[in-house]
C-alpha cells in the first residue's frame, strides 16, 4: 500500500499547490501595480501569520510533491530501488523543505 499512499499524497499535495500558486501570482501582480519596493513588501509580510502559514503550507506541499515525483523518475529512468531510493527521496524532500522554510522565515521573520 506504500505506492497508493504516495500516489494519494502526490495528488493531494498538487491540489494544495495549484491554488496557492494562483494566490501568490495574483497578489504579486496586484500588489506591484502602484510600484512597491522589496522593503515595502517585507514590511507587510513580516510577522504575518497568514503569509507565514500560506507559504509554509506551500513549501511543505512542494517538498512532498517533488520528492515523490523524483522518486518515480529515479525508479523509472535510472532503475534506483530499495533503501537507496527511499534514502535519496528523503534527502531531496527534506533538503527542499529546509531551503523553503528558510525562505519563508526570511519573508515573515521579524528579526
Amino acid at each position: 500500500m506504500v505506492e497508493l499512499r504516495l500516489y494519494l499524497a502526490q495528488r493531494i499535495s498538487a491540489a494544495i499547490i495549484a491554488p496557492l500558486v494562483l494566490l501568490h501570482l495574483g497578489v504579486m501582480i496586484y500588489a506591484i501595480q502602484g510600484g512597491l519596493s522589496a522593503d515595502e513588501i517585507l514590511a507587510r509580510t513580516r510577522g504575518s501569520l497568514f503569509w507565514g502559514g500560506t507559504y509554509g503550507l506551500f513549501v511543505l506541499a512542494v517538498a512532498l510533491h517533488a520528492a515523490i515525483g523524483l522518486r518515480n523518475i529515479m525508479r523509472e529512468w535510472w532503475q534506483v530501488t530499495g533503501p537507496l531510493l527511499t534514502g535519496l527521496s528523503w534527502v531531496f524532500g527534506l533538503g527542499l523543505l529546509a531551503a523553503g522554510m528558510r525562505a519563508v522565515a526570511a519573508v515573515v521573520g521579524t528579526s
Partner: protein
C-alpha cells in the same frame, strides 16, 4: 498490369533473434489494396522462406500480426501500404517492449502473464443453480465494461507504452484495461482481489497518462481512461477503508 521497378517498395525487415539482429532490405512489388501483412507474406513466399512472423485470421480479429511499421505499432493485416509508406520505403520490426523469438515474431508470454497477475479472468459470482443475472445495457457500470471489452490482445498498446519500457514490472495498458472491464461487470466475484492486484506496485498507479495506448489501439479503445478509472477506484476504496477503520 505489369510491374516495373518503379512499382517496387523497398522494405527493411528486422531479422535476427533475442541476442542479435539487424535490418535486411527486400524489393516487393506494389499491389492494389496491399496490406503490410501481404508484404511480409510476399517476402516469405517469394524471397526468403526463412522469414518468421505470426498471423492467423488476417481480418483484424485475432490480434496475432501486430508489428512495428515505420516505428509505429500497427495491426499489419488491416494496415494498407499506401497509407503508411514513405518515399516507397517501409520498415518492419517486431513489437517493441517484448522479447524477440525470431525476426518479426516476439514472445508474448510476459504480456499474458501480466493479464493473469491483473486477475484478468472472469470469475462468476453466482452458480448455475441461480437465475441468470439481469443487467441493463444502459447501466453505467455495464457501459464502462462495454467500452473496454473489445480488446483483441494484439499488444499494440503494450508496445506503445513508455512506462512498460521503463519498468518491466508494470502490468501494461491491456491487462489493466481488462481488469477495469471486469471491475465493472456485476456478475464477477473477484473484484476485491483484482483491485488489490492492480493497485500494487507495477499496477495502475504507475501509469503516466501519456495515452500512447489510446493513440495506437486499432480498436479505438482508451486504456488510459480505463486505468484512470482503476486509479479512482483504488483511491476511493483506500480512503473508505481508512475511514471505516478509524470511525467504524
Amino acid at each position: 498490369m505489369t510491374e516495373s521497378v518503379l512499382d517496387a517498395i523497398t522494405v527493411s525487415v528486422w531479422r535476427g533473434n533475442a541476442r542479435q539482429g539487424g535490418f535486411q532490405d527486400f524489393q516487393v512489388p506494389q499491389q492494389p489494396s496491399q496490406t503490410i501483412l501481404d508484404v511480409v507474406t510476399w517476402i516469405q513466399r517469394h524471397l526468403d522462406a526463412s522469414l518468421s512472423y505470426r498471423f492467423a485470421c488476417r481480418v483484424g480479429m485475432c490480434g496475432s500480426c501486430a508489428m512495428m511499421v515505420n516505428g509505429i505499432p500497427r495491426w499489419t493485416c488491416r494496415t494498407h501500404v499506401k497509407k503508411v509508406m514513405q518515399d516507397n520505403r517501409l520498415s518492419i520490426e517486431p513489437l517493441r517492449n517484448l522479447p524477440v523469438i525470431k525476426d518479426l515474431a516476439c514472445d508474448m508470454s510476459e504480456f499474458f502473464e501480466k493479464w493473469k497477475r491483473a486477475e484478468g479472468h472472469f470469475s462468476g459470482r453466482d452458480t448455475r443453480a441461480q437465475p441468470v443475472a439481469k443487467i441493463s445495457p444502459t447501466d453505467n457500470a455495464r457501459r464502462a465494461a462495454d467500452a473496454a471489452i473489445e480488446c483483441i490482445n494484439c499488444a499494440i498498446c503494450y508496445a506503445a507504452c513508455d512506462v512498460v519500457a521503463w519498468n518491466s514490472e508494470y502490468l501494461g495498458p491491456a491487462a489493466l484495461n481488462r481488469a477495469w472491464s471486469l471491475q465493472n461487470d456485476a456478475r464477477d466475484g473477484r473484484q476485491a482481489e483484482r483491485l488489490q492486484a492492480v493497485s500494487a506496485d507495477g499496477g495502475c498507479l504507475q501509469c503516466h497518462s501519456q495515452q500512447g495506448c489510446a493513440t495506437f489501439c486499432p480498436n479505438q479503445l482508451n486504456p488510459t481512461a480505463s486505468i484512470a478509472g482503476l486509479k479512482r477506484l483504488a483511491s476511493v476504496n483506500f480512503l473508505h477503508k481508512k475511514y471505516r477503520e478509524r470511525y467504524g
